[in-house]
């Protein structure tokens, strides 16, 4: 079974936010080597998801990298508020 990156990342983001209904995770593009995922959260939650010095964002990226590496792919995550 292939890993569903959208659900994985959503699963990592959701417990961190206070507006779970506003969390949007979307795969923007996917080819043989690179996956681009966009994460949108409520403006109020942006800080929580990124963390001090981007610590949480980097942790989430690291976890995503590992799962993508298993399928010999790279993954980039863009985190933004709307």
């Amino acid at each position: 079974m292939a890993v569903n990156y959208e659900t994985l990342i959503e699963h990592l983001i959701t417990p961190l936010v206070i507006h779970p209904e506003d969390v949007g995770v979307k795969v923007l593009s996917e080819d043989d080597s690179l996956i681009t995922v966009q994460v949108l959260v409520n403006e109020e939650d942006l800080g929580r998801v990124i963390g001090k010095n981007g610590r949480i964002a980097n942790a989430i990226r690291t976890i995503a990298h590992a799962s993508a590496a298993r399928n010999h792919k790279r993954i980039t995550i863009q985190i933004d508020a709307f």
Binding site: V3, P15, L16, R48, I60, T62, A66
Partner: protein, 204 residues
């Protein structure tokens, strides 16, 4: 357990306020309220009590389990609360240990950072979370102590400082601690994050 008592007009407003103040996802908050009649019996306010309703150990365990199943990795997870230090220990064992550990423990530390942040959001006082995969940390510690001793001996003999690179804060600490008692070498960490490195210097 995190709790908050406050006044609000209705449930919806109360839940959002509680989530904001307690800084957690509203689905983990339990609300209860009492009605207070105003002076003339016209206005009424509701006094809410919001509680973050999680058992941290179960919460962490369930979260890891779900995450690993989303990663499509079968793993056994042990969760334990150390009653002396108050630290939460999680140990993962799976067929994909190397993947979960990552290059020099990078993924492991990502996981740990994430878990620490997550669980601290849901707990009232700061909790320490320690994550290990296989016996990575214990093995790494032993390896580092051997490396530290070997390098220190060489430095003591040659009187030329030696540099250990690519160690994270915890790993540098292990080396510092290991060599703290040595008579003929001193250790310092130099450089700025993320390029900090450890230098073992001969003592004058």
């Amino acid at each position: 357990m995190k709790t908050l008592v406050f006044d609000a007009k209705n449930d919806e407003e109360a839940l959002l306020h509680a989530a904001r103040e307690l800084r957690v996802n509203p689905s983990y908050i339990t609300l209860s309220h009492e009605e207070k009649k105003g002076m003339l019996g016209l206005k009424k306010t509701l006094t809410y009590t919001a509680t973050v309703n999680v058992n941290l150990l179960d919460f962490g365990y369930d979260f890891l389990k779900q995450t690993l199943s989303q990663l499509d990795i079968e793993a056994t997870i042990e969760a334990e609360l150390n009653s002396e230090t108050g630290a939460y220990h999680f140990t993962i064992d799976s067929d994909e240990n190397p993947l979960l550990i990552g290059k020099s423990g990078k993924t492991l530390h990502g996981f740990q950072t994430y878990m620490r942040n997550l669980m601290n959001l849901y707990s009232e006082d700061g909790v320490n979370v320690i994550l290990d995969i296989g016996d990575y940390k214990a093995n790494r510690e032993r390896q580092l102590e051997i490396l530290a001793t070997k390098t220190a001996k060489e430095v003591a003999r040659s009187k030329i400082p030696a540099t250990l690179r690519d160690l994270n804060a915890y790993e540098r600490r292990i080396v510092h601690t290991k060599l703290a008692e040595w008579r003929d070498v001193t250790t310092v960490s130099e450089g700025e994050r993320p390029n900090r490195y450890l230098v073992i210097k001969p003592k004058e």
